[in-house]
């Protein structure tokens, strides 16, 4: 009985982990504004955590710089399966204007498959909510596939 309750509550309340890999802070501010009372993603059950070990959904911002690449790999390895990777903005998707820079190590899909990508520079908070709604469905499918 408790297992069923836990299963249900997992789907209703996915926890987010925000991972900054050399972003310009634009997308980070938009993520924070999603949590504020104005857009209030917590009414859908999203909660920002401080630890990757508690997270279900990882929000990645920024092109992966060479300084942050090792940390990105280490952090993603700490997230328990099933996890959903959401790329926020154009930077993790394709490195954006930093394309070809000596200190930027490629788009995010070199290291991990991206499940949901939100375009925009930065995307509107509403667009992020759209993306998170899609991420929940993917998380649900992944959890069912794991059983």
């Amino acid at each position: 009985m408790f297992k069923k309750l836990i299963e249900k509550s997992f789907e209703k309340s996915p926890w987010l982990f925000h991972l900054n890999t050399g972003s310009c802070n634009g997308c980070d501010i938009e993520i924070v504004s999603v949590i504020t009372p104005r857009y209030d993603a917590e009414r859908m059950g999203f909660k920002l955590t401080g630890s990757p070990r508690h997270a279900d959904i990882i929000l990645v911002t920024g092109p992966i710089t060479s300084q942050s690449r090792d940390r990105l790999i280490r952090t993603l390895a700490q997230v328990p399966d099933p996890k959903v990777v959401v790329s926020i903005g154009s930077c993790p998707r394709s490195t954006n204007v930093f394309n070809g820079s000596y200190s930027v190590e490629g788009p995010l899909d070199k290291y991990v498959p991206i499940d949901v990508s939100i375009a925009g520079c930065p995307p509107k908070p509403e667009a992020i909510i759209d993306g998170l709604a899609k991420a929940i469905e993917i998380l649900r499918e992944k959890r069912r596939a794991m059983k």
């Binding site: 009372p37 857009y39 154009s90 954006n96 949901v116 375009a119 667009a127 759209d130």
Partner: protein, 146 residues
């Protein structure tokens, strides 16, 4: 004893919550918002100005030679776009437009691609003038300059 925010607290009890219930009530983007790209291939003249001004290089062009003329395809990959609107500003024919649509969260990468194809016909070859007429014209031109 003083309650510094008591007045504000009592006011707030009767106020509506400030939360925008977004998925239930759709919100329109403000005027001048730069969102999803629209491309009109019938207006395009293939000058390549948009490719020149695009900082991240999200616009690519492929030219195929066919019998009717050049088959030109423009691809706008919005996953690499900064939405700076420079391409739309510099377009001499207004073939590119940035709309107010901000729903750009996708699960498939290909949904971010906006592309359009058009065929640019080669101009008809001008008829070859007889030798004498050309010389006459040149003489007339020389006379005018004098």
């Amino acid at each position: 004893m003083k309650f510094p925010y008591l007045k504000e607290a009592i006011k707030s009890v009767f106020k509506k919550p400030s939360t925008e219930i977004y998925p239930i009530v759709n919100k329109e983007a403000p005027e001048g918002y730069r969102g999803k790209i629209n491309y009109y291939p019938e207006k395009c003249v293939n000058c390549g100005m948009c490719i020149r001004v695009c900082a991240p290089g999200c616009i690519t062009r492929t030219i195929e030679k066919t019998e009717e003329g050049d088959k030109i395809t423009f691809n706008f990959y919005q996953g690499q776009c900064t939405f700076c609107s420079l391409c739309a500003d510099f377009c001499p024919r207004g073939a590119i437009e940035l709309t107010k649509n901000y729903h750009l969260a996708v699960t498939d990468e290909k949904d971010l691609l906006v592309s359009g194809t058009f065929i640019k016909k080669l101009p008809p070859k001008p008829p070859v003038q007889p030798q004498q007429q050309v010389q006459n014209q040149q003489n007339q031109g020389a006379a005018k300059t004098e």
